[in-house]
Amino acid sequence: MTQSSTSFNIDTVENASTTPETELPWAELGLKEDEYHRIVQILGRRPTAAELAMYSVMWSEHCSYKSSKVHLRQFGEKVTEEMKKDLMVGIGENAGVTNLGDGWAVTFKIESHNHPSYVEPYQGAATGIGGIVRDIISMGARPVAVMDPLRFGDIDHPDTKRVLPGVVSGIGGYGNSLGLPNIGGEVVFDSVYQQNPLVNALAVGVLKHEDLRLANASGVGNKVVLFGARTGGDGIGGASVLASESFDDTKPSKRPAVQVGDPFAEKVLIECCLELFHSELVEGIQDLGAAGISCATSELASNGEGGMHVELTKVLLRDPTLTPGEILMSESQERMMAVVTPGNAEAFEAVMGKWGVEYSWLGEVTDTGRLIIEWDGETIVDVDPRTVAHDGPVYERPYHRPDWQDDLQADTFRISDAAADLPATAEELGEAVVELMSSPNMTDVSWITDQYDRFVGGNTALSQPDDAGVIRVDEETGLGVGLATDCNGRYAYLDPYTGAQLALAEAYRNVATSGAVPMAVSDCLNFGSPEDPEIMWQFAEAVRGLADGCKTLGIPVTGGNVSLYNQTAGRAIHPTPVVGVMGKFDDVARRTPSGFQRWADGQAIYLLGTTADELDGSEFARLRGHLGGLPPKVDLAAEKTLGEILINASRDGMIDSAHDLSEGGLAAALAEMSLRFGVGSRTALDELCERDGVDPFTALFSESQGRALVALPRSEELRFTDMTSARRFPALRLGVVDAVSGGLEVSGPFEGGSFGIGLDELKEVWSSVIPSRFGGLVEAEIATRQQ
């Protein structure tokens, strides 16, 4: 493409030195005055327009973590040597890498694309998948699966009708086209997410140890290449604030308001990168996400020998009117930057040719310690790359516990009006179970997940609705991984420290329930504005809780993402620290499914763990319109023991299904295990109520942690209970699987003695919640959004 460099008023370094008085639009670019002065101080002169562009995007909250950094350090500090033993790459790189053994490693990470998905649901969600997958590729890994933790406003709010279908088809449209099975996620509805939906995306990849690549530019004289899609005005905003850079008469052309993803380009990029890794053609590699070329050049340079020289006119453009500053800031998708030895350049070009990927050689690695960017031979950037990539501002934002927190915690469910008329008789309890299962947060999400490919790749051993997504890594040995993401924002709102640990505990428990040994954590911290000291307190508490929790469980945080400013008109979302846990299977054939098996008639059902009166923040309380009190207690030692039991039971083939207890408590877990394959059960609450001193209502709906249900053949009962008693872990035989009755029958010390719910009837209400909202009209919406 022909590009003219003459239509810009090129602000060179020389020019900057001689025109110190020139005003630059630093405020419009989001920099604070003192930040701008620091840049001037670092450079010893005013920045050029291009330098200002780089610093402004790299020092943004999103790229610099300036509000969160001081807290996130704990993830590194609260790590023991023992926790690090399988960690090949920790926090700081594009994604953490964990050793799986047998020469295999796994990398995974969660990221948010919240605001873009609110503006344009389809493309926002699609490019969210695209971005996280590129992080995974840049570690040298083959991406093998994605997950999508989602949160929307009230299910009946009109805006949810606009946002949800678009987000879901965007995630499907992009992920399906990449050939990545979707193995799980979350769907939560709560009015606090209206106007601030949370679209988080997790990607997981696998690699052989020798394929590991890092983002650094080493080897003086090595060449720097940009490849993939062309650079357009994406992410710069509707109008260019750097318009002052342009002095020709034609108005600067419009810049896109949103980014459109090209999943085909990304799929080709994946295969192309894997071939590069396999043929050992790249020394270092970096994906281009937020802050595009600014980020890639400054990070590669500062992680390597420290110097790089780039000629910016070499960048292939989609929009020839882009100014140098805009090129540096552009967030166009589906691009990568790599460092290649001169000797490999030809082979590199051959791989590009084979896959039909465009590329351009931009410059080379130097030993000057400077990042020099030229425009047609004139120097427009001359900086120490560390000052751009790593020395951004760090804020110790003030924080304090909200004054209302005490009142909130004092307002428990039991003393509230919501507890006035609790179900107590057989009939009332039965109705309450049905009501619970038709809550939007408990309902069948297959209307959503059926839009995602779960088979592609042929290695998916578990996916929704099981507790964890499970992927086989090695086809010969069955070595594999299980992953789950979780967070209950209501718990975190009641107590952010505990809430974060509960998110961790649940994800850990889900992974262990499937039979995998938990190994590593990635998190996506979604919060309101850090400039509000109360929100900042929520953030600080959540991070502290998560870091402490990881230390207790002995699994390190390997990476993650922070999303702040999720608030509108002063109304913030619940603190939502989404936690993803990855665990390992020696052989995924051992994975434990969550549903009662069709052939399991008569198997014994055991409840593991203890039930206390813990309804604050529960799904049942939500149904009654109440939120207050303290979240369930967290006992990570108990979670660990429970995990060991579930993992051993899976490894030794003792149990045939298992499901953890979380939202909705025992009632939900029993119903879900039955709904999976339409296999019923007969259970009795008497012993449980007596042992734990709870009433039948509490037994069914309390959300006490550290619990799971398992079903096992009678021949295994003795071995199993020996194992639980050896660990002094409470295990109670609750009843049996009933594959004949087609119903859920529960008896206990309540009026009427027992209630039964037909599975057909239950399934009907449980599975119609989402389709009844998002049918018809929505299809037309989808129609016009499709190609």
């Binding site: 083959r142 093998v144 088809s169 499907g172 449209g173 399906n176 086209s177 990449l178 050939g179 696998v206 690699l207 052989k208 394929d211 090209d262 999943p263 085909f264 380009a265 799929k267 080709v268 295969e271 894997l274 071939e275 396999h278 051959a350 040719g353 084979k354 896959w355 039909g356 997940t449 059926d450 839009q451 995602y452 490919d453 779960r454 088979f455 592609v456 790749g457 042929g458 290695n459 998916t460 051993a461 578990l462 086989r472 890594v473 090695d474 086809e475 010969e476 040995t477 995924v588 499914p593 549903g595 098996q597 069709r598 052939w599 394959f677 299809e779 989808i782 129609a783 499709q786 190609q787």
Partner: protein, 264 residues
Amino acid sequence: MTTTPTDTPLIGEFTAVTPSGPLEGARIGVITFPGTLDDRDAARAVRLGGGTPVPLWHADQSLHGVDAVILPGGFSYGDYLRAGAIARFAPVMDTVVKEAGAAAASSSPLPVLGICNGFQVLTEAQLLPGSMIKNDHLKFICKDQVLRVENTETAWTSQFTQDELITVPMKNQDGQYVVSAEELEAIEAEGRVVFRYVGENPNGSRNHIAGVTNERGNVVGLMPHPEHAVEAGYGPDDATGLREGTDGLTIFTSVVSSLAGGSK
């Protein structure tokens, strides 16, 4: 430039079932277009079926002497324009059309199976009648699908019994099979419907058609994915449990044995 892909799968090797005896001689090509997704899965299925998968590259005209060809699923060229529309112009397709199409000189023309996107490519290339449009509900849908095998004469279905019911995963957005009234009549009259959806029509396809064959019976298109139902633990659910279904494997053992049996 030689363009046969050299990459070995990074996710382990294909499950090791060493082909033996006469079967191992069945070499089945699996074409990769840019954007193809299920090529590894198809190759694995061939191997599990006892044959030898041979990777074929879209830009290479040569079929490297394979005995049969599979066009796997995916989103070739992003399914942009129309599903399969750009892929059908690939150089390898010229050879496929030559060796498998109506004008193929051989008395036993090349067996070709197009799965999902591969089926769409075959209709775009007019090796098979009709075309595929968006599902009537417009959404991408991934589910376990029951099919009836109605034609057991093709190389790909010879080991099924007539009207056998099988369950294989289905996953697509443009899976609604349409064809002109006259052609539909001909297809039905000549018994060229190979697979039919059982139960509720999942996408609005004419006459519930899930798979068809050409007049000579060597080219078969199938919308659902048999290659995702070849290994217990990773397939569709069946009566024995979660993901245990392997009904799709018979497609691959069929072709391997009909090649070995000298029907080619």
